[in-house]
Amino acid sequence: MLSITGLSVAYGGLHALERVSLEVRAGEFVTIVGPNGAGKTTLLKAISGAVPAAAGRIEYGGRDLGRLAAAARARLGIAHVPEGRKVFPSLTVLENLEMGSYRAEARRRRAEGLDMVYALFPPLRERRGELAGTLSGGQQQMLALGRGLMARPDLLLLDEPSQGLAPRLIEAIFEAIARIREARGLTILLVEQRVVEAVELCDRAYVLETGRIVLEGGRETLLADPRVQRAYLGA
């Protein structure tokens, strides 16, 4: 479904990503782990079109995304739940969700989407009339996830959904992600610093360090890898 070959991204002469290649098949749950500043967020932004690629190719559903703008990529069914949530603070919770279903395919089935999101995150239903900027961090994360789901995406990009949340909330968010996946058979690409939880959830994972893929494999292989155990699992 998503195939990246030799992708490089540069910020003002600095290489954020260098010749990254990866593959996400339809229905798969793929995780990218790695330390801060490894280029994980940049990778997701390059996929959704927020940063331009310096070199390489991103193919989605057999189609070269090339120079397509972010909005055009979203219309193709790529939903990006960004780092730091980035909800629309001066819009109400409901309006945020409505904007999630801005693309035509999703707009037609907006009511159905709202029911699904409210069932998944009941607090959003209670606070639907309030401004998103007044929500707590955990609720904003629910809203960002819900907004992404409202798009009825084929590919869901999740950037650090656990960031800045209390452990109990993190658990709830990861649980929700697992449920979303089961219910909708979504293809998910997750970027996380919390390696244990992220790798537990996924089918396959890549380890990204200083802009390069240094390791890849299925969940079991990766959890058993001595380098991963040493660097990320504290074993």
């Binding site: 079109g49 927020a50 703008a69 909005a71 979203a74 909800v87 629309f88 603070p89 001066s90 904007m99």
Partner: protein, 282 residues
Amino acid sequence: MGGIYAVMSIGLALIFGVMRVVNFAQGDFMMLGMYLTYYLAVAYRLDPLLGALVVVPPFFVLGVLVHRALLVRVTGGGDPQRQMDAQLILTLGLSLIITNATTMVLSPMPRQIRTGYATEAFGLGPLLVNQARAYAFVMAVLLAVVVFVFLTRTDLGKALRAAADEPEAAGYQGIDVRAMHGLAFGIGVALVAAAGGLLATYHPIEPTVGVNFIVLMFVAVVLGGLGSIPGAFVGGLVIGLVQAVTLLVLPLQLQNAGVFIAFLAVLYLRPQGLFGRRLRTV
């Protein structure tokens, strides 16, 4: 007066809120709106109150074209400081060009639309309300309501606000942020032109009339809280009110002194403006 200030200020606030561009040419678009209304009144005997509505579509198109031809070059991406410099120079330059071209083509001679109601007044108990101003006020409030409904009840309006809030995330929802900029600029220009048309029911029209009003628009927008639409509306009303009250105690030439004193007082007590958020999420 307050209602018209409110409409012009909403136009400016919309452009700033969505694009983060301070449009110094806003007063000149207002002036052009006055002239178009004037010529419609002269050539077709069109009442300026209606003329103010007729100028909306052409000025919307003009705004979209100006955005597409000029402003896209200095917005969206790049070094923010340099972009801001470029935007200031662009809109100031645009303002100078429009003022001087209008002076050249239409002469600096002031013109006035004569309407039957400009010199009539309603009696409201002991008060006399000038009819032209009363009608213009009602029209202005109606325009503001239409804009408000558009922004809060339609998908396009909500997308406009979303693009103002978080442009990056708006893109992820499939909202074309550049198109939203064009839309905001078009609506902003159309609104200020309509406000000009309403103003033309009782205010003389000359090429430099915009300068007198752009300052008041800025005050209204900052008073209400930068980029806030309801804030700009209330800010405009407050300015009209303060002007009127000042007129009771100070000579006509000093009516804006009252506005600036009120402005300083608000900034001192509530620096984020009446409707501003204390913190902006970055």
